[in-house]
Symmetry: C2
Subunit: 273 residues, 2 copies
């Protein structure tokens, strides 16, 4: 499918892990996903998850994942430990950890499951927005990782003026895909869940120190639906709920163009001032 | 404050833990919080959390908590392990686990932090509903744990007819407090986050096997705000987002009567058919 490329997609390079022992893998941060300080958290999440996806004892597909960003990830090598803490008949619970110098820099849990066809419904319906081709492609400015997403904002773009007075809504809606394009899978969907710039920027139009401390993703898509979505755009939405004494949370959803809810995601961010 | 009672509140009895070694506590399930099978998940969550709250090395107050219900909790004794995986200057990341017969029955992570006063806003505003005294108190029927909550539904009560045809919305809004009343704290707020009956019941009006597999709570309230809320009602809201192939997720919020957003919560549930 990607035989026309000479080397793996940059995201596949970034999430590549090699076995380093029982339940243990070794990887490296990737300069192409660098953020202001250290790597883009979405790729750190995908790296952590990748150890579960690669694990020979994995049962079923991903349904839930939580990552806590416990410390700044330094550029360079890391280890990921992924332990199947409990394996049931059709579900499996994972405890995961990213380590640098034997210290945890990220902790987390994951759940995988063998899914069966059931009744279903999407209650969080995809909002009506113009199709991606009718919206301008956002120029990739600044840190490296933003170059590796194509973004077309329908609502709630980054403020153009930083005057310390934002609006009453922190809602963002954008069409999103990997750049260069790449067929959607659990790793890339997880990375996309962290793509939203801080909701505080929309409310305050001021750039204070800020960073994600915890993120959870629930996966409604299975691999069949991810494959059907392929390299097409994903509509991503996020909105802040509460901002109080140094921490804010946001709720987000990701749909494919057909309106299938692929994942929901929530995160807690630290902020200063 | 509670000197008029001869014995501790039933929730305090249920979450009582005794030290059992380094990072290790011992507790017991409580018959008064029994669910259909095993204990009410909200109290299991509070028990898991309690080990973090009791830990002598804890830094700051709770800001995030995730629990995964890895296996059915059997009635009787359990152990909780709470390990401070990473301690920073003002934040701390915890890895927690509940064990029975040395096997994990619940896994999770928590984050605590020293909070500072900052700019704040509640974007998820409390919905307008009648005050609790204008809504009927729901009779406590069925399993034991429901007796220990006072519920006054404003919207989305449990279906009265199980005809297999629900409505298009799974949203529930209710006033909630412990019964007998009890000053709000992190443990009781966490337990309340799991109080919602399955969203599937509203959509399908049919009772299929169902259970929470993962729950995350983000705490906007600090202990001062919890104390200020005291024994008053909490307005709790939850709504399903996606229902697909055996798993559904819901998003929820809890406010006090003054409109302070105390916590947001999300959970993933397993369902059959």
């Amino acid at each position: 499918m990607r035989a026309h490329r000479m080397s793996p997609h940059v995201l596949d390079q970034a999430i590549a892990l090699e076995p380093a022992g029982d339940d243990l893998w070794r990887g490296r941060t990737h300069a192409e996903y660098a953020n202001f300080i250290g790597p883009y958290g979405g790729v750190t999440a995908a790296q952590l998850l990748q150890a579960v996806l690669l694990h020979p004892q994995r049962l079923g597909e991903l349904v839930a994942f939580t990552i806590n960003f416990a410390a700044a990830v330094a550029d360079g090598e890391f280890h990921v430990r992924a332990r199947p803490a409990r394996t049931n008949r059709s579900t499996q619970h994972w405890v995961v950890e990213m380590l640098q110098d034997d210290q945890p820099v990220a902790t987390g849990t994951a759940m995988t499951a063998v899914r069966r066809r059931t009744w279903g419904a999407t209650e969080a319906e995809m909002p009506q927005v113009p199709p991606p081709q009718d919206l301008p492609r956002e120029a990739a400015r600044g840190v490296a990782w933003v170059r590796h997403y194509e973004r077309r904002y329908a609502e709630g773009n980054v403020p153009t003026e930083w005057k310390g007075q934002g609006g009453p809504s922190s809602r963002t809606r954008l069409w999103l895909r990997d750049a260069p394009d790449r067929p959607l899978d659990f790793a890339s969907l997880t990375a996309m869940a962290d793509n939203f710039f801080p909701r505080l920027w929309l409310r305050r139009a001021t750039q204070v120190p800020i960073g994600t401390v915890s993120m959870t993703v629930y996966y409604h898509a299975d691999s069949t639906l991810l494959q059907a979505t392929g390299t097409d755009y994903v509509l991503a939405q996020a909105q802040g709920q509460g901002f109080r004494n140094g921490y804010l949370d946001q709720a987000g959803q990701l749909w494919n163009r057909q309106g299938d809810l692929l994942a929901t995601t929530h995160q807690l961010m630290y902020y200063k001032e």
